[in-house]
Amino acid sequence: CTSVVAEDKNGNLIHGRNLDFGLFMGWDMKNKSWIISEKLKPLVVNLDFKRNNQTVFKSTNFAGYVGMLTGIKPHLFTLTMNERFSLDGGYIGILEWILGKRDGMWMSFLTRSVLEKANSYEEAKTLLAQTKLLAPAYFILGGNQTGQGCIITRSRLLSIDILEIDVKLGRWYVLETNYDHWKEPLFLDDRRTPAMKCMNQTTQTNITLKTMYDVLSTKPVLNKLTTYTTLMQVSEGSLESYIRNCPNPCMPW
């Protein structure tokens, strides 16, 4: 996955993401594609969660999956999550759960609870940083004011790091793939470098939903695992998603 929160020159926050999933779960030699990724694409739906006929939040989901991976609380905040690999992983959390130790949250239930109940960027950030999880994760959160964009790097128990947008330092966007931002990504899976190259080439002056889509359409940020691309603009309360394909030659991940 690749998630980006960027602030344009007018202080608008733009949040984009590629949802990549299905690695090592069966390769279709004939079509040169991942079996599960292709099976997930027809399940992609945009959801408008309403209460009293008012929108509470909107999301992009796989039908049948009740948790949240990509969502917007219109005019308040936007949220995506990317997978984080750690030896202290989800299987430990699941074992604890089965043994009756149930003080942790399943990752996608937390993101849904945050989208449903939090009413500000700061409140969402606190919940995402401090709630005990069953598995490590990256939460990428965008707010509705200048400087409100961050990557929360989570272990199961702790918030390891929060990297925020800081325009004064020249950091007008934060970008997360699936590696801790203070470490080099695996050289076989470096989607961060090309994505940052294209963001820097776009410049803060020219970042829009359209140019964000261009970045998320550039190989290997776009790859054989990419099922959908979502673009969100909190000030507009807008969420739009597109099912993707990666024509050959294309990286498997």
Binding site: L40, P42, V45, N46, F85, Y91, W106, D214, V215, Y242
Partner: protein, 123 residues
């Protein structure tokens, strides 16, 4: 242009929006989830529309499991144990999964596995 050796890094793309061409596979439909309706009913419209695709995807995961454990015991284990887990989830998630299983005809254990795949996959 893309370099023809891995990682096939391209020059930064431009003018890809509005989405079109070989990298665009289709638009995404909108549905409303009514949080005022009972948890077991709120996914009915979506699952009714996507039932075939959901069954196909679950079958692909089943095939994968059977590739690892040809005896089928792994799928059996999922179908026997995971429904118990549905009752341990915080509300409304367990109820929603039961509603999805009922509408789609997919065994509850397999709906649960789909929903906790993130934690399972870290294995």
């Amino acid at each position: 242009s893309a370099q023809f050796i891995p990682p096939y890094t391209e020059d930064c793309r431009a003018d890809m929006y509005p989405p079109k061409g070989p990298t665009f596979k289709g638009a995404v439909s909108w549905y409303t989830v009514d949080l005022d309706s009972p948890p077991s009913k709120r996914w009915t419209a979506i699952i009714t529309d996507k039932k075939t695709d959901l069954v196909n995807m679950i079958q692909a995961i089943r095939d994968l499991a059977n590739a690892f454990v040809p005896s089928g015991r792994l799928v059996e284990l999922v179908d026997i144990t995971l429904p118990i887990m549905a009752d341990t989830f915080p509300k409304p998630f367990g109820e929603e999964m039961k509603g999805i299983a009922e509408v789609s005809g997919v065994p509850l254990g397999e709906v649960v596995l789909f929903n906790i795949f993130y934690e399972v996959f870290t294995v």
